[in-house]
Amino acid sequence: MPETIIVQNLKKRYKNVQAVNDLSFTVSSGEIVGLLGPNGAGKSTTINILATVLKPDSGNVTIAGHSLQNGKKQIKKLLGIVPQDLAIYEEISAEKNVRFFASLYGSYETRLDSQVQMALKTVGLYDRRKDKPKTFSGGMKRRLNIACAIAHQPDIIIMDEPTVGIDPQSRNHILETIAELRKKGAAIIYSTHYMEEVEAIADHVLILNDGTVIASGTTEEICKRFENQVTYTFQVSTVEFVEESNFLQIAGVKQIEIKDNVIQVVADSMNNNLNDIISMLISNGCNLQSMSSEKASLETVFLDLTGKKLRD
């Protein structure tokens, strides 16, 4: 598949913060690239640069053969943006919203009717097309936000957390819609905090932290780097006598977290240390009630790479 978006050594700085630092990646037609990262990782800045509303300090961006520096208008015509905030007018009907925004991309009136109809059907809002968004639920507004971005049938779709704060049904519908768009050949950048969404739809994942890519590849490739890592979760009757430092002395134990009566131990399974961990629990006076183990998931990898510290 041809590379539709080529980002090379992109940099953007806001006063004292390096929002994007030497970022490079590509997106091909019919591919979904998931952008993952904690708050302030540079996802939205990257998206706004690609959307041409923000100027980068340096680096090259080529979209469908047009350079960001001198092909801004041509690039804008090819893009469909689903911003994090709902970019719709609440006081006019859903249909008028979609029609108005699609018309800005130069669609002919005759084609516009079918485009609007198709976009509303795709997001499951055709039956409510005459209603105003102010009467919609959060999930419906999010779906309308997507319809406004796809009605002009863009080759490239950029989505910035399109499923924030909605019910599972709407989320499922949105994810199905995105998978449909990929089938039609769109190049999609999908930014989110939800790991399971990326696992479900992304062909390629970029994990960003402090403006740089810290991991990249398919979900399987990224998780493979941590394939020996296992997280044991122990439910115990008391944690009163547990000493964290004792556990960290066991070979292969990387991390321990104690919360209420639950102890989570992240360990390297190659060390065959489960027996030692359980022995340590018993010798620390914990009455073991249940236990479970979990192989590395995208979420554990993400937290491992970006840390558990709260972000602004």
Binding site: L79, P83, A87, I88, Y89, E91, F101, L104, A149
Partner: protein
């Protein structure tokens, strides 16, 4: 053309805002009624009644005070700003974005004051120039255009509707104070009188009295030229300072 589509949508957005409709139609009438009634004892009925006098003054004051706010609402009011964000992502130039807000609010206030002046003249019986009322309407209209550009400029400078609205009240009140439409300032001395010449409100008020009571239009062209020049200046500031990412 995208520009006209956006102007149309912006105009529809203004029509969905009852506060803007009321403030550009009912408020001037209420001000004329209240101030006309309060100052009735200071006037006879001929040649100028209190309502005639306050009619001219309050229409000018309303344009000075409310039109700029109408534009800042069309530009950055919370509800419309979300939709405007998507316009920033569309293939629309930033000048088209700014100009569409100015033009849509200008069309709206032109309709409002274009109806208010004949309503006051023919239905309420105020003297707004008799057969010259069209010249007075034209003057108010050009003044309203300046108000639109002024409101847009403050949005571009302060990048938020709330800040723009609260800060632009300061120069607007200074213009109104110096313009003498609330009370005469000639008693405050020569210095204040001289300074008052910087106020576009004073230009408009002076020109209006000439048109309405002296049937004299010699000030009309210089005042319109001055207002057009100020409007152009405001628009240039908008062009320099507006960044579409402010919507994002």
């Amino acid at each position: 053309m995208n520009f006209f589509k956006i102007v149309k949508q912006d105009f529809i957005n203004i029509l969905h805002n009852p506060a803007l409709i009321i403030s550009n139609t009912m408020i001037p009438l209420i001000l004329i009624g209240v101030l006309g009634f309060v100052t009735k004892s200071n006037f006879g009925t001929m040649p100028i009644s209190a309502y005639d006098y306050q009619g001219v003054n309050m229409l000018i004051l309303s344009v000075a005070l409310l039109v700029a706010i109408t534009t800042s609402n069309a530009f950055m009011e919370e509800k419309v700003m979300r939709g405007n964000m998507r316009i920033a992502y569309a293939p629309v130039s930033k000048l088209e974005m700014v100009l569409s807000k100015i033009v849509s609010s200008y069309v709206f206030v032109s309709i409002c004051y274009g109806l208010l002046v004949p309503f006051c003249q023919y239905i309420l019986g105020l003297n707004l120039g008799g057969s010259n009322f069209l010249w007075f309407t034209l003057l108010l209209n050009i003044f309203a255009f300046f108000g639109c550009c002024f409101g847009a400029m403050f949005c571009c400078i302060f990048r938020s509707e709330e800040q723009a609205n609260s800060i632009m009240q300061i120069p607007l009140f200074i213009f109104i104070f110096l313009g003498g439409v609330l009370f005469r300032i000639h008693r405050l001395g020569n210095v204040v009188n001289m300074i008052s010449n910087i106020s576009p409100v004073k230009w408009v008020a002076g020109c209006s009295y000439q048109i309405i009571y002296d049937n004299d239009r010699h000030l009309l062209l210089p005042v319109i030229t001055g207002l057009a020049a100020l409007s152009l200046l405001c628009f240039l500031v908008c062009g320099l300072l507006f960044k579409p990412e402010e919507y994002v």
